[in-house]
């Protein structure tokens, strides 16, 4: 049970090589899995397949034995790698956050989001500041699984630690399943209960 990918294969078109071939991943609630690989091994593609942003060419993604729901708030939430593209540039950040529910004070405090930022436009904040909003937005939606696609790559180490602390706390508190995608083997070892190394998978 939990969130599982069965014999997942994906390529963008029939002319292109397989990005993922017969990939199997399972995460239970409460588990933390790190997916580790260098650039170009399909980490982001795998996360997008698991979160339902892409449809697999072969194989399937199952949540507790059933396919992911097509409507309503998805129980598997993904935080994208580029926060500046994951928010509407014409929306103030208060609206960005409220897209996933009502604002929670303690969430703002935990992520170090300042009140003044809420009335600004995305253009006026840095990537790291925006990423906090994206993480907060994903957590506020009340999902059961969280997929973090290199969410801390653009942050300095102090902010990285701060954000991961909040994410891990929240995941533990709500018994969420967590998938963290990263380049950084040390980070993977530090945060995860299990590590999936895509380089070891049979990808041509």
């Amino acid at each position: 049970m939990g969130l599982e990918a069965k014999n997942l294969s994906f390529r963008y078109s029939k002319k292109q090589p397989w990005i993922l071939k017969d990939c199997n991943v399972t995460v239970e609630r409460g588990q933390r899995l790190a997916i580790f690989a260098p650039s170009g091994y399909g980490k982001t593609t795998l996360s997008m397949l698991l979160a339902g942003y892409l449809e697999p060419v072969e194989g399937q993604v199952l949540l507790d034995g059933k396919p992911l729901p097509g409507k309503g708030i998805c129980p598997v939430q993904m935080i994208l790698q580029h926060p500046e593209r994951a928010v509407n540039p014409r929306w103030r950040l208060r609206r960005v956050l409220e897209e996933s529910g009502t604002l929670k004070e303690e969430m703002l405090r935990d992520f170090g989001i300042e009140r003044a930022w809420l009335d600004r436009f995305p253009r006026e904040l840095s990537g790291g500041e925006l990423q906090r909003f994206c993480v907060a937005r994903a957590l506020m939606s009340g999902g059961e699984y969280l997929i973090c696609d290199e969410i801390s790559t653009m942050l300095d180490v102090i902010t990285q630690a701060q954000i991961w602390q909040v994410v891990l706390d929240e995941a533990k508190k709500r018994n969420m399943g967590l998938i963290a995608v990263t380049h950084n083997y040390y980070l993977a070892e530090r945060i995860a209960t299990g590590i999936l190394d895509l380089t070891a998978e049979n990808v041509d």
């Binding site: 979160a51 942003y53 309503g72 708030i73 998805c74 994208l80 580029h82 994951a86 509407n88 897209e99």
Partner: protein, 274 residues
């Protein structure tokens, strides 16, 4: 500093435009028919203090006729470009958000309408719709939506590939909600700028179709009619019936065009801070 200047310039232009529109409309409504009737004693007078634009071959005051004509042109221009812009946004969204075959059909229609020269198409449509003001309105409204529709279609396609739209879907938002909250705020500026930039086009087309004799009836003091009549007198040395009303039309069109461009620069996020 420059932002303030552009804003100020835009506000100034808008005020000037509004005043001109009101003046032209007021002129058009307030001038009694007898004033334009004129007399043969006054015929073919060059511009003078009592007739700033001179008089035509029938002794009618050209300033009054020009403004009366412009009020008709503006009505046609406004109505036709508003209808056209609404068609454009519906077609644009329909093509981009609908099924693939809808997009195919819409694109085919856009290509078809754009492929035929506008003037000929307007003549044909206005002729088959009964000529006069109604025919012209339908003709202009039915031909001017294409490029704006194409622009909006492209914009919607580009927006739909944005990650934040995908995120919004995963947060449980419906397509309708996404259209209203995510897409429309991006499309409205395009819509308004397109509308304003379409206005001079519509006015010029109205004038040119009337000039060619397929638009408004000859007794109506439209700017195209005045210009068309003046051509016959140009070789006789009567330069003012062609030059002055024509110049007024060009000035009005340039002013509207400038207003549209200022608005575009102000609403476009990439240049809004300049």
């Amino acid at each position: 500093m420059r932002l303030g200047n552009r804003r100020k310039k835009l506000i100034l232009l808008t005020v000037v435009m509004a005043l001109i529109f009101i003046a032209i409309y007021a002129f058009g409504i307030l001038i009694p028919e007898e004033e334009i009737a004129g007399s043969f004693l006054e015929a073919r007078r060059p511009p003078s203090p009592s007739h700033p634009f001179g008089t035509d071959a029938l002794g009618r005051d050209l300033l009054l006729r020009t403004f009366k004509g412009l009020s008709v042109s503006l009505t046609v221009g406004f109505a036709a470009s508003a209808v056209s812009a609404v068609i454009a946004i519906l077609v644009g969204i329909g093509a981009a958000a609908g099924a693939r075959w809808v997009d195919g059909v819409m694109n085919w229609v856009i290509d078809l309408v754009m492929g035929v020269p506008h003037t000929i198409l307007i003549i044909l449509i206005s002729f088959s719709a009964g000529r006069g003001l109604k025919g012209l309105l339908i003709g202009i409204a039915a031909t001017h939506w294409c490029s704006l529709a194409r622009l909006i279609r492209g914009e919607v396609l580009q927006l739909q590939s944005q990650p934040y739209i995908a995120v919004s879907r995963k947060l449980g938002k419906s397509s309708g909600w996404i259209l209203v909250h995510h897409l429309l705020p991006h499309l409205l500026p395009q819509f308004f700028v397109g509308l304003i930039l379409m206005l001079p086009h519509a006015i010029l087309h109205e004038a040119s179709i009337s000039f060619l004799g397929f638009g408004l009836p000859p007794e109506q003091p439209a700017i195209g009619i005045i210009l068309s009549e003046s051509m016959g007198y140009l070789s006789a040395g009567l330069w003012w019936p062609a030059l002055l009303p024509g110049l007024t039309l060009v000035l009005l069109v340039l002013l509207v065009d400038n207003l549209g461009e200022q608005l575009q620069k102000l609403l476009d996020p990439s240049s809004a801070q300049e």
